[in-house]
Amino acid sequence: MPSQPSAVHTETESTDSASAAAARGAAGTSAFPQPHEVMAGLRATMTAPGILSMLSPEGEFTPSAEFPLDVTPELVKGLYRDMVLVRRFDREGNALQRQGQLGLWAPLLGQEAAQVGAGRAIRPQDMVFPSYREHGVAYCRGIAPVEIASMFRGVDYGSWNPREKRFNKYAIVIGNQVINAVGYAMGQRLDGALGDEDDAEATITFFGDGATSQGDVHEGMVFAAAFNAPVVFYCQNNQWAISESIHRVARMPLYQRAAGYGFPGIRVDGNDVLACLAVTTWAMDECRSGNGPVMIEAFTYRMDAHTTSDDPTRYRMQDETEAWKLLDPIERVKAYLARNGLADAAFFDSVARDADRLAEDFRSKLVNLPNPPVAAMFDHVYATPHPYLAGQQAELEDYLAGFADGADGVGADGADGGRR
């Protein structure tokens, strides 16, 4: 097997991986995975009993009777374009972090199909409760990359209006959002927003395999079952909770946990955008019509580090990543389009150009984001006036106005990231 760039590398580079490996050896004194652990990991991550797959890694499509999908060329080309663009700006996010423009980036590399498939199944009136890696779902909700990255730059908590986009702000404490989503869905039910009409609503919440250990997720599922909440629990099982492999935590496939709570659980090939779209569409419809909740386990793989602060070479072996590369979610769609003569080189080139333009736009908007004003710290802490906080704000602004050099201490250095 040829040497390959490590997962933290960008798409475009080529590198001397021998020195990279040497460097990693120097960097990490922790124990490295042993061969038997690698085999166990591969078995756990590659074998997925009960998995639903529609588009093979080779680009062969097999329809599902249970989860019907009207597969048109335009649909597939659109999904392809979505995934390429999402991957492109995700890679740009990594690079921007390495260039000091972002404090952190949580990459989604490898999870494009799981996110775009689900994202395209959600209707405008549905509500989404994401974790913090759902850039692909956000993109499907019409949120621009810079609106996501502003959070990782430390400008705000994400620039989109979660109420208008019906896509809540990212949740960073693991599992918190799941139980909130259940409550929101309970409200939809109480409001009589369910039914067979086109404007009927449902809720979907995203979380990872790691979050399934948290009490909040368990409690959310108990509540959802108790109150028939119209909520889809969408677990992207990317196999790794930072350094913790899911096979160490879960003796049974995660989707089977749903049976314990008394609602359906489906394991879907998370690298198959068509399967993800079909299953999520079905699950949301089930919820809309009052048959929720539903759990979906999108079986996928975190190809990159947990975040840009992480070093996966300390706890997993390259072989595992290499094996998953063969299951790439975008390549199989490209193969499908090419195999069926649905797209030509001009199409792929135009998508690539669009992706580069998106990345360029993302970069230029991001590096020019102004720092927020001091008042932003105080705005919206309370919905109603708070005398003490108003006094503290006045105190701070007085203090900042007292410097002889005139700068108010905020935004004085422009948007070039000089403060960090």
Binding site: E92, A394, G402, D405
Partner: protein, 470 residues
């Protein structure tokens, strides 16, 4: 044309402060694109590669492999607008490139170091404030309750940068349960027995300061008769007082006097003496050649008389040794002379005064006085006295109650000599009369002994011829 951009080492892992350069992937002169890998670094968390934020031509590498570099330090410069004519790219020499020498500040405020630049802002020290900083005490309008005043000087202008807040309510006289004063000032008031409610504050917004309490606590105020307060004279007027630090001789004197007054039980006896004969003798002696160069003062006669009498009154020449619980009887007379000098009271003594004759004593007194006034009295003669004379007569004073020089048993004050109506042999006559005031330590000297001593001294001065009999 060229436009050189600098890429500083970013924090790639949440709070990391430094990284080691593992290896460069580019060299000066290379063309690079955005996101092309420039360098591999190793942090405390991981080895990672840094992609280029710029497209252009590498002009210099500012750090070398193996080097550990702080976050924020520039590591590479890239010309994003290289000359189309292909002007040779200068090699990577930092100081040349930047035109900035180590320690100098660049136009953008960074300071060149050996390996690059550090932010000038990170230098220790504070950001300058406006001349009289607007203090951050929240405005009353912004807080639910009014705050106690911060001690801002009254001349401080109201901040022109007051943030947009609801207009402040009109000042309302606050009825305070307690006067405003800092805790140490409260403590002082308690120690001085001053009721803070009666103190006139001098600070802003009625703040009572230490000086206000001190003023209120002085006797002048306490003794001041109750009268209608007038603004100008509500208390002692410090502008018409002068304060001199207690130090040096004054401090030593004070301490000595307090020690003496509060350790030795003083008894003072008085005696008026007709010294007409003594004054006549003085006139006769002054005309004699052996006294020609001597300043023969009445004090010299008193000194001689005291020395003679002390031979028979050893208790008055004794010392009370508290520590040893002993009375020290001195077989010599070290006669202290209280001298008023510009620096204060000093009491040098004439050693072995009892061994001197009248002429010797007169000469010694003159020397002692001259030395003391010149401030050259040696410490040795300031201690070890056994009895002291104080000449209050030079000030026209007749009598007093002198305080003992610490440790001594007696002190004799000599009053002024002046013509006085005096009964002589049943007839009223005008005589030269002097009052003697003797204080003695009652622990050492009984009243009878003290009275006898004073009578004997007086007798010798009244009839100097008696000296033949002593």
């Amino acid at each position: 044309m060229s436009h050189v951009e600098t890429f500083a080492l970013p924090d790639v892992g949440e709070g990391l402060t430094e990284a080691e350069i593992l290896g460069w992937r580019v060299a000066p002169g290379d063309e690079v694109g955005v996101n092309q890998i420039l360098v591999e670094i190793e942090t405390a968390k991981a080895a990672v590669e840094l992609p280029s934020p710029f497209a252009g031509r590498v002009t210099s590498l500012l750090v070398t492999p193996g080097q550990t570099v702080d976050v924020g330090v520039p590591i590479i410069t890239i010309d994003t607008d290289p000359s189309p004519a292909g002007v040779p790219v200068p090699d990577g020499v930092i100081a040349e490139e930047a035109g900035t020498k180590i320690g100098e500040m660049t136009a953008d405020g960074r300071i060149a170091t050996l390996v690059g630049f550090v932010s000038a802002a990170s230098a220790p020290g504070r950001r300058p404030r406006r001349t009289d900083p607007v203090k951050a005490a929240p405005t009353a309008s912004a807080t639910p309750t009014a705050k106690d005043p911060a001690p801002v000087t009254p001349t401080t202008p109201v901040t022109p940068t007051t943030p947009v807040t609801p207009p402040a309510p009109a000042p309302v006289a606050v009825r305070r349960a307690s006067p405003l004063a800092a805790p140490p000032v409260r403590l002082l008031a308690r120690e001085l027995g001053v009721d803070l409610h009666t103190v006139t504050p001098s600070g802003p917004d009625g703040l009572i300061r230490r000086a206000d309490v001190e003023k209120a606590g002085t006797p002048a105020t306490a003794l001041e008769p109750v009268r209608r307060p007038t603004p100008a004279r509500s208390g002692v007027d410090p502008s018409r007082q002068r304060r001199v630090p207690i130090k040096g001789v004054r401090k030593a004197t004070g301490a000595a006097m307090v020690t003496s007054a509060f350790t030795a039980p003083h008894v003072t006896v008085f005696h008026s003496v007709d010294v007409t004969e003594m004054m006549a003798l003085r006139e006769r002696l002054r005309s004699r050649p052996e006294f020609a160069d001597v300043k023969l003062t009445p004090l010299a006669f008193v000194a001689r008389a005291v020395c003679l009498v002390l031979r028979r009154s050893e208790d008055l020449n004794a010392t009370w040794d508290e520590a040893a619980q002993e009375i020290v009887l001195n077989d010599y007379v070290n006669l202290g002379i209280a001298a008023a000098t510009p620096r204060g009271l000093v009491v040098p003594h004439i050693g072995d005064a009892d061994a001197l004759d009248l002429r010797g004593l007169a000469r010694a007194l003159t020397e002692l006085a001259d030395t003391a006034r010149a401030g050259r009295t040696s410490p040795a003669v300031m201690t070890g006295g056994t009895f002291t004379l104080t000449n209050i007569g030079v000030f026209g004073i007749d009598a007093g109650t002198p305080i003992l020089n610490p440790g001594e048993a007696g002190i004799l004050a000599v009053g002024s000599i002046k013509p006085t109506p005096w009964v002589v042999d049943g007839e009223l006559a005008v005589r030269q009369v002097c009052q003697l005031s003797l204080s003695f330590d009652h622990r050492l000297v009984d009243g009878a002994q003290g009275a006898r001593f004073l009578a004997d001294v007086g007798g010798l001065l009244t009839d100097p011829g008696l000296a033949f009999a002593w």
